[in-house]
């Protein structure tokens, strides 16, 4: 009996390539990136009245209005200036009496070190544009990240992300990310 002819398989490669290209193009390889934040948990109804009020010098007030203008510690500023202002506030290098006070605290690797009591308070209007709001948040986070990085470089000679977890935690203790968001005002909403 005659052997039946074999089915040619040379086109198999073409078919596989076609499938491959289809998956390559339809797939979303892009990685999601973004500014990470944590929301405060909902406060219990009974407010603790015993907490001492925060001193005026310890608060860095940033206000953003409905026209996306920024008022920082009572001054109109451009967004480009915000980072330096926030850094100066958190660092307070010359112990200026108008900038936040410092408290000595024991931190691993550093010994007793003065830590700023400063808190950044951010308040926006309900009519503020989201883009501006995020830019302001980004500058404030960047200010603290830069301070941490500078400290990591002077103390350990390496950028923050290259350090061990314990050292990173110590630096985070010295420059905590204290950004609080006040309830927004309802001025610029129609």
């Amino acid at each position: 009996m005659r052997k039946p002819p074999e089915i040619p398989s040379s086109s198999l490669a073409d078919i596989a390539f076609l499938l491959l290209i289809f998956f390559l193009t339809s797939a979303s390889m892009n990685t999601d990136m973004g500014l990470e934040r944590r929301l405060p948990p909902i406060a219990p109804d009974v407010e603790n009245k015993d907490t001492p009020p925060i001193k005026e010098r310890n608060v860095f007030i940033v206000l953003v209005n409905k026209d996306n203008q920024i008022l920082c510690e009572g001054q109109w500023i451009q967004i480009g200036e915000l980072r330096e202002k926030a850094k100066e506030f958190m660092e307070n290098p010359n112990d200026d009496p108008n900038l936040p006070e410092k408290k000595l605290k024991e931190v691993e690797f550093f010994g007793e070190i003065p830590i700023s009591e400063g808190v950044i308070s951010l308040q926006n209007d309900l009519g503020t544009q989201y883009g501006t709001y995020l830019a302001v948040q980004n500058e404030l986070v960047a200010a603290i990240n830069e301070l941490r990085n500078d400290l990591a470089k002077t103390k350990f000679g390496e950028p923050l992300e290259k350090l061990s977890k314990e050292k990173q935690d110590a630096i985070r203790d010295i420059y905590p990310q204290r950004i609080s968001e006040a309830e927004p005002k309802r001025v610029g909403v129609q």
Binding site: S9, S10, L12, A13, A16, F17, L19, L20, F23, L24, S26, A27, S28, M29, T31, D32, M33, G34, L35, E36, R37, R38, L39, P40, P41, I42, I79, G80, N124, D125, L126, G127, T128, Q129, Y130, G131, Y133, L134, A135, Q137, N138, E139, V141, A142, N145, P184, V189
Partner: protein
């Protein structure tokens, strides 16, 4: 034909391509396994804001997305041209967010719930009112770990 070639020097035999389909199939399976198909069609216009202090969202399975923006042209007639919230494949109201988070949590293991992140993909021209309402709802659902989705900014402000 064969008869004429006989006298010439021996030619190199052609490289066999029989294994080419196998190689391509391996590649194909690799990409099919690695890649997550885009499962939601975004129905709102999105131009994400730019930022510098970015963190990558590592575990994609633990991320729930909330899209906010002006509906795209084909939806404007029905849903208007004010910024709207999109959850999964539907337009939604602010009140639906708590339910959305609950459903997202039920789909995950219990141990993974604390690691879940909500990625807020919000158009940069949106007013803060809607963002504030979303944040308030997320706090009520105690989904406190959020990520404001943004693009990398290369130049300084």
């Amino acid at each position: 034909m064969e008869r004429f070639r006989k006298g010439k020097a021996k030619e190199l035999p052609a490289v066999s391509t029989a294994s080419l389909p196998d190689i391509v199939f391996i590649l194909l399976f690799f990409f099919m396994a690695v890649v997550k198909m885009r499962d939601v069609t975004v129905m709102v216009h999105q131009s994400l804001p730019q930022a510098t202090e970015l963190t990558k969202l590592e575990k994609k399975t633990l991320v729930s997305n909330i899209y906010v923006g002006v509906p795209q042209n084909q939806y404007i007639a029905v849903f208007g041209n004010e910024p709207r919230i999109q959850l999964n494949d539907k337009f939604a109201e602010v009140e639906d967010i708590v339910d959305f988070i609950v459903v997202e949590r039920q789909a995950r293991d219990e141990a993974e719930i604390p690691l879940m992140t909500t990625s807020l993909k919000i158009d940069e021209y949106t007013k803060m009112k809607i963002v504030q309402d979303i944040k308030q709802e997320l706090r009520r659902a105690s989904a406190l770990h959020i990520n404001y989705s943004s693009r990398k900014r290369l130049k300084n402000l």
